[in-house]
Symmetry: D2
């Protein structure tokens, strides 16, 4: 089962500069060879369900190792059985409707 | 690593009555012997990280088997290394501050 | 338009004890006479759309006044035109399916 | 108070093709002259708090008018008092850390 997810990971108890933590997560998604794309309030991640969640677990663990005593994520998660759809196709599908 | 999660699972393409699908997920959390609690916009689920995510995956699979071509979840996920805290303790902690 | 919302409000840059901030938000929901219910990863809030969002804005402002330089909320928001449904009815609807 | 939000709006009861509804919301953000950016699981929206939420309300209303009996949104919402930060600066801040 393929998953398309959107992760917004917030380390708590490390002050207000969160970008070093988000940057570490990007490296983890890259290492796991997932298709991912950073935006201004999270990161889209696409891949096999188990791979996506192994990477998410590694993100939480990494942030704790970087010193965050608490980590709170907000996640959106989509699966579908009717057809395959990539991150890029989801955006393209909306763009076509805007032109129409 | 223990996780406290909050799942809101939406089957798409099955009409507007979603409660039969949410009820199925409750049975899955129960089967996995997780501590869980239904509220009006999701379900709190507490347990070992891997158990929690095995149950979530089973929820998505079950909803597809029940006929939903798409399933979209909104999830909150918390981990902490500073101390243990249960679902019940999180609520109690807020209640005490309200009285204070 | 009536809204049923679920708010999880995280003050950032104030350490790891968040319950005093969540408790303040409960007082704000009460003051605005909204139907609300605390759970372990957020608060269900029900009322007229504009009232619900005035209260949410007041929560963000209050947390900043309490010293949080950043506040990040995760919100679920539901509206429906097919019928009225209260917080309590949403839970009852799932419970009945579990018994069935 | 400026807000940076991330909206993922799901019309329920209209089948599985959601892109026409998402496209309508893009037009609403544009009409309100908000800074916005579509990604694969939502839309980043930046602007004055009240403007952002007027647009969100209009999205829910529009989707109901388009025939959706239920609409469920998942929203992230950030405010900060320590400094100004745009959608673009948030991404740039992470990119710099990845290089570092």
């Amino acid at each position: 089962m393929k998953a398309i997810a959107d992760f917004c990971i917030i380390p708590i108890g490390v002050g207000t500069s969160l970008s070093p933590y988000v940057a570490e997560c990007q490296k983890i998604f890259q290492k796991h060879q997932l298709n991912y794309s950073l935006h201004s309030y999270g990161t889209n991640v696409e891949g096999p369900w188990d791979e996506v969640f192994v990477a998410l677990k590694e993100c939480h663990e990494r942030l704790h190792h970087m010193g965050a005593p608490r980590v709170s994520s907000s996640i959106r998660l989509g699966t579908r059985t009717d057809r395959e759809q990539t991150l890029e196709e989801k955006i393209e599908s909306v763009r076509q409707k805007q032109l129409g």
